[in-house]
């Protein structure tokens, strides 16, 4: 019977006691280093890419990672000597994680977030290695590069690295608190939040001037996670943010899709001080400042949206848009619903969504699919209404945006 990987992380103790049988060159007494590596593996969310969902073979690779240029398949990072990283030297492992240089000297693709992991120290990376050496080796040969020409030419990555890759450990900002610095390290280093939340250039590099202001990937729009009060986390308290990362739910919203996976595999297992550090750091980012003014309730789209909202949405999200804390997201307080890029909101209305279930919040409530009930005009109208009600303001959503998401997501799994 195949169990999801969540179970495997929870039974660390068991893994540790049996480590010697898989240990390769790891000293079975290296408890501290392995423990640290286990936690860094969680912070780095390695499992998201390197474990196939629902697989009983953690870190055996094989999961295709969608990039704008094609799919890259995550490699096997178990200690298997032939198909995994078992026979790699520490130098080779460190170079891959922090410099994006493969074992044979070729360049990795930045789907592997080495541009973030470079902020970790060599000790961090070797601790991760020590932990990975304790997981069961799995023989699973993965052909990583399935990109089409010309992206399949790895040497092209030299150019990319020159443009977008800045190598180096995290350097604390002495003007900031220890907690802030820890948060910055977690967000920019192992947590690699920018991989999803910072907009990308056409070559896939970070638009650093729009740091963490929301992006698009894999059929989802990732929201602005700066302290911008209209679009970002400005309306959230630190506690709201910690609760969200820890349990996947808070009084405003719920995690689903890729973020649901991040919560399940990574943030739910982080320590409270680390979650607070992340919150402190993100809440310190001002984000962009431009304002929007709400559409008039008399606009035909708004009137139609109000009718649809009353009839179809209010049973859960409330006549006041407030939802039910930790169960049904508050549309009134949702900056996500007001994102410049409404892809995720459209997608959730069309296809429905299951929010993440965690031990702290096991309910995992679901949003039904409205894609057959509402046509593109109706989805656009109700979303426009939600974006511009209860004190919120954001641009109207057009029917063709809905059509586009409908088409784009038609063949995607969740």
């Amino acid at each position: 019977m195949r169990r999801r990987f969540r179970g495997s992380l929870a039974v660390t103790a068991l893994l540790l006691t049996t480590a010697s049988s898989f240990a390769g060159d790891t000293d079975p007494q290296a408890f501290t280093q392995i423990e640290r590596g286990r936690y860094l593996t969680i912070l780095s969310d390695c499992a998201s890419c390197h474990t196939v969902p629902d697989s009983s073979q953690p870190f055996a690779g094989g999961r295709p990672i969608e990039t704008p240029f094609g799919n890259i398949v995550a490699p096997n990072i178990t200690p298997d000597p032939e198909t995994g990283v078992g026979s790699w030297s520490d130098e080779q492992f460190d170079a891959a994680v922090r410099k994006g240089i493969g074992r044979n000297g070729s360049r990795l693709y930045p789907a592997m977030p080495y541009n973030a992991y470079t902020k970790m120290s060599r000790d961090d990376v070797l601790a991760i290695r020590a932990y990975l050496n304790t997981v069961p080796p799995v023989g699973n040969a993965v052909i990583a590069n399935t990109l089409p020409f010309p992206f399949n030419i790895r040497t092209a990555m030299r150019v990319w690295d020159a443009l977008y890759f800045k190598e180096g450990d995290y350097r604390p900002d002495p003007k900031q608190s220890v907690e802030w610095n820890r948060g910055a390290y977690l967000v920019d280093g192992p947590g690699h939040c920018g991989a999803c939340h910072t907009p990308k250039t056409f070559l896939g590099g970070d638009k650093t001037d729009q740091y963490l202001q929301g992006s698009y990937l894999q059929g989802w729009s990732a929201p602005d996670i700066t302290n911008n009060s209209r679009l970002g986390l400005g309306g959230w308290s630190k506690e709201d943010l910690v609760s969200y990362l820890k349990s996947g739910h808070n009084r405003v919203t719920a995690a689903t899709g890729p973020m649901g996976e991040v919560v399940t595999l990574s943030t739910a297992h982080m320590t409270d001080p680390d979650l607070n550090a992340i919150a402190t750091y993100l809440k310190s980012l001002p984000g962009k400042t431009e304002q929007a003014s709400p559409l008039s309730a008399n606009e035909p789209t708004m009137a139609a949206g109000a009718a649809i909202y009353r009839d179809q949405c209010s049973a859960c999200h409330g006549l006041d848009g407030k939802g039910v804390a930790e169960l049904f997201p508050s549309i009134a307080d949702s900056s996500m619903a007001r994102s410049d890029d409404p892809t995720t909101s459209i997608r959730i209305i069309l296809r429905g969504a299951r929010s993440v279930g965690t031990s702290a919040q096991p309910t995992a409530p679901g949003m039904p699919s409205y894609g057959r009930q509402l046509d593109d005009n109706e989805v656009a109208a109700v979303l426009t209404y939600m974006r511009n009600s209860w004190g919120g303001a954001a641009g109207a959503v057009a029917a063709d945006q809905v059509s586009k998401v409908r088409l784009d997501t038609a063949l995607r799994p969740d």
């Binding site: 019977m1 009137a303 649809i308 009353r310 009839d311 179809q312 429905g352 699919s369 005009n377 969740d414």
Partner: protein, 251 residues
């Protein structure tokens, strides 16, 4: 045999059937093993398929006309609310009889079929579709035999009502069919079509719901549960929505 409805008639039905629904419903009929997390599939659900526009699917010959005539006497039109024919009850019955209901899908239809007491339930091998076919034929034959060669739908309203009163009381007998039971079934079905969601072909434009003040397929009356003896202010909504959902309509 196809009926010969005019093109105009067909267009009317297309409108009446509303937006086409895609039959993409994910039905979970195969055995699955569930563990670790709640199952989830995007686009899940099995919304109803809207009654298809177009000609009769089940009724043949004059059957459709007869049922429309029955529907219009059971629910006569009045100045405020259309009758059973105009509101689509015959379309509703036609689509129901052409579908799983008419075929007795899912019911226990193994023999032997013995005659029992009424309180033991219906024991006929025939499904509703066959019973309608026989009942409508017997009704037309009885009308032609007893009322100057005219089929039921050709009678005056007064004569139609006389026939229906006779069926209800048992005085007007049908050959080989329990006329009273058949009439009871038709009354039930015509009224059912009148009050069911318009997606099934009857209750066009929610006329029945508007007539009685039923607000339809709503899900939230939290703001009204404690407002005693005050009329609920919103119009009805069907599974396909209401006029106010479209941006063209300004309130």
């Amino acid at each position: 045999m196809k009926d010969n409805h005019s093109r105009f008639e067909i267009c009317r039905r297309e409108l009446l059937a509303g937006a086409a629904y895609f039959a993409l419903g994910v039905s979970r009929s195969s055995a699955t093993v569930i563990f670790d997390h709640l199952p989830w599939t995007p686009n899940a659900g099995d919304p109803p398929t809207a009654a298809t526009p177009g000609p009769w699917l089940f009724f043949a010959g004059d059957e459709g006309k007869t049922v429309e005539a029955l529907a219009d006497r059971i629910i006569p039109p009045d100045p405020e609310t259309p009758g059973g024919k105009e509101s689509g009850s015959a379309v509703f019955i036609d689509r129901q009889l052409a579908g799983p209901y008419g075929r007795q899908d899912g019911l226990y239809v193994r023999p032997p079929f013995l005659k029992g007491a009424k309180n033991q339930g219906h024991q006929s091998e025939k499904g509703p579709a066959q019973e309608y076919r026989e009942g409508l034929a017997a009704l037309d034959k009885a009308c032609k035999d007893q009322l100057g060669g005219k089929a039921f739908f050709e009678l005056s309203d007064a004569d139609k009502d006389r026939v229906l009163n006779g069926l209800e009381s048992g005085d007007f007998k049908l050959d080989g069919v329990d006329g009273r039971a058949f009439f009871e079934q038709v009354v039930k079905d015509v009224q059912m079509g009148f009050f069911a969601d318009p997606i099934y072909g009857g209750n066009r434009d929610m006329v029945a719901w508007k007539m009685i003040g039923y607000p339809g397929a709503r899900y939230n009356y939290l703001d009204w549960v404690s407002r005693h003896n005050e009329k609920f202010p919103l119009p009805p909504v069907s599974m396909t929505g209401r006029a106010e959902w479209t941006t063209r309509t300004q309130r």
